[in-house]
């Protein structure tokens, strides 16, 4: 049943300058481990001290980890609800509807992961899942500055960083690190302009790619249709899409929707 299961915050970890990670213990545990790339609708049911009730809302968040029924979510301060979620303490209750959507496929010997912003959390869970199968992924992570990049010291395998200010790793965009690589498959999650570059690289080099999209959602469960990308629902048919699928898309990289379904053109 698609119900926001009350879930207690049991641990807060991995702080950066722009957010942190929480571990949640759902009152009724999910029946099995989620697939990396799947997400949950995270509900803030009560405002933390000092916050107004208007911050209460549900927001889609990727699953960043799983440990015996506990669910990990990594939150970046992007607006009112995410900010209030970051003010919650251990022992506070949230609601968790999930796992939702279709995640990444795991049949790959030499995976290359590329993430930016809140794209890093689902890739961490993907990298850990690969590592548990004995596969060592290579991960490229990008951000404005070093202390805004989530989880960079937690990934199994090799990690390369790119920062806009040169504070760590390559001074420039994370997509510039792609040049050297020849993976079986590229897995990527992050801002759509980065995904567009990743897709172009993958098509040019004939590398299969799976890209995880983060788009506005209202229900998250395939009911309202507001998250549609062309004729697909991002919350249900995605959020992970193959490069073949996205290469044909009219809307990927160009047209976004906001609350009410209003259209916004994506400009670089």
């Amino acid at each position: 049943m698609r119900y926001p299961i009350p879930s207690k915050i049991v641990e807060i970890t991995s702080a950066t300058a722009v957010g942190h990670s929480i571990w949640l213990a759902p009152k009724e545990p999910w029946p099995s481990a989620p697939t990396p790339g799947q997400f949950a609708m995270v509900w803030l049911p009560r405002p933390p001290d000092g916050y107004k009730p208007e911050v209460c809302n549900t927001v889609p968040m990727s699953i960043a980890g799983w440990d015996n029924g506990k669910v990990r979510i990594t939150i970046k301060n992007l607006g009112p609800t995410s900010k209030a979620l970051l003010a919650c303490q251990c022992g506070d209750w949230l609601g968790l509807t999930g796992p939702l959507g279709h995640g990444f496929s795991l049949d790959c010997q030499h995976p290359l992961l590329m993430g930016g912003g809140v794209g890093a959390p689902p890739l961490l869970y993907l990298a850990q899942t690969f590592a548990a199968q004995g596969i060592k992924p290579i991960t490229l992570l990008g951000g404005t500055t070093e202390n805004e990049i989530f989880h960079h010291d937690e990934f199994p395998g090799t990690v390369e960083l790119a920062t806009d200010d040169g504070s760590a790793g390559h001074h420039g965009r994370v997509t510039e690190l792609l040049a050297e690589s020849s993976p079986d498959r590229l897995y990527s999650c992050g801002p759509e302009p980065m995904l567009v570059n990743g897709l172009q690289w993958a098509l040019r080099h004939q590398v299969a790619a799976e890209l995880c999209l983060e788009r506005y959602m209202a229900c998250g469960i395939g009911l309202c249709g507001i998250c549609s990308l062309d004729q697909d629902l991002v919350c249900q048919d995605g959020p992970v899409f193959s490069s073949e699928r996205l290469a044909d898309s009219r809307e990927f990289g160009t047209l976004l929707r906001e609350a009410g379904g209003r259209v916004r053109q994506l400009s670089d």
Binding site: P6, W93, I221, G222, G260
Partner: protein, 309 residues
């Protein structure tokens, strides 16, 4: 082979099964997909004059298998952006805009707008707050006169389907008032006024607090309301078609509504997570009719009425 074709206010539909307003219909892309499922017609999300962002979440929760409570807050991009973007005349099946407003004047503006853009018929969502409500909870379709005023104001621009709320003592009176005011069809039911609470979190389940109930649990209520509407219209000598809905999740459920006298039906909640389920229901209706030896919908429509005469 069973013939599923119907006409609705002069519009030819391939079959009597339509997509209900508010489910899988809030963008042109998803409407295109629903057109390909073989639905007879597609009703759009309720469109208002101004854009509405919708309510905070949770907006939709499954409280028992197949039964949902929702308060989306009528999210929509507003009439102007809707008309710019939505395919009112270019899809392979008719697209019927659903309109929502607070006053007859606003409803008339919406009707004029969609008619000018090529819509052949519109559905008017009368389950909206009553403009002269003494308190917040009253709906236009709870007052026969207020509902009739909206029908009269909109039907000048194009034929309208009046969509009624089940939250009334006597739905037949409201239906007859709408028919008398010139409604081309009556549709019912909208969601039932509802509230649910999470005992662990000690708060309402929906971001908006109150919401509407839909899905399998409301089917028997929908059937009874449709029967009451059909009886009241017959009694007042109107042959206005009635579009039944509420909790339809199979071809057998479609048959149930048609047996109660519905001219056609709409399906919403049960398509959640499975848009292509629409095709299975349409196919299933033809199979049921073939098995029963019915060639036309009229061969069995309204057969239940004799039990209540």
């Amino acid at each position: 082979m069973a013939n599923l074709r119907i006409t609705l206010a002069g519009l030819d539909l391939d079959n009597p099964i339509m997509l209900a307003s508010g489910i899988l219909d809030s963008t042109p892309g998803i409407l295109q997909r629903m057109a390909e499922t073989g639905a007879g017609a597609l009703i759009t999300k309720s469109i208002s004059l101004k854009p509405r962002p919708g309510y905070p979440g949770p907006t939709t929760v499954e409280i028992a298998p197949g039964t949902w409570i929702n308060a989306m807050g009528l999210p929509n991009p507003g009439l102007e952006e809707f008309l710019n973007e939505f395919p009112l005349t270019t899809l392979s099946v008719p697209v019927i805009p659903n309109l929502v407003a607070d006053t007859p004047d606003e409803f008339a503006k919406l009707a004029a707008g969609v008619a000018a853009a090529g819509a052949k018929i519109a559905e008017i969502n009368l389950s909206c707050p009553h403009p002269k409500a003494a308190y917040g909870g009253s709906l236009t379709a709870q007052d026969p006169e207020a509902a009739a005023a909206v029908v009269a104001a909109t039907t000048k621009h194009l034929p309208v389907i009046a969509k009624l709320t089940p939250n009334v003592a006597d739905i037949g009176t409201v239906a007859v008032a709408c028919a008398r005011a010139g409604a081309a069809a009556i549709s019912a039911i909208n969601t039932l006024a509802a509230l649910d609470v999470d005992p662990e979190l000690e708060r309402p389940l929906l971001g908006n607090g109150f919401g509407g109930l839909s899905g399998v649990a409301i089917r028997p209520i929908g059937l009874r309301k449709v029967l009451e509407i059909v009886q009241a219209l017959n009694h007042a000598n109107f042959d206005t078609p009635v579009i039944g809905m509420g909790g339809i999740s199979s071809a057998e459920d479609v048959v149930r509504y048609l047996l109660c006298g519905a001219h056609s039906v709409q399906i919403g909640t049960s398509l959640t997570g499975d848009p292509e389920h629409m095709s299975a229901i349409t196919r299933g209706l033809a199979e049921w009719m073939d098995r029963k030896g019915y060639r036309e919908l009229a061969d069995f429509r309204g057969r239940i009425l004799e039990w209540f005469s």
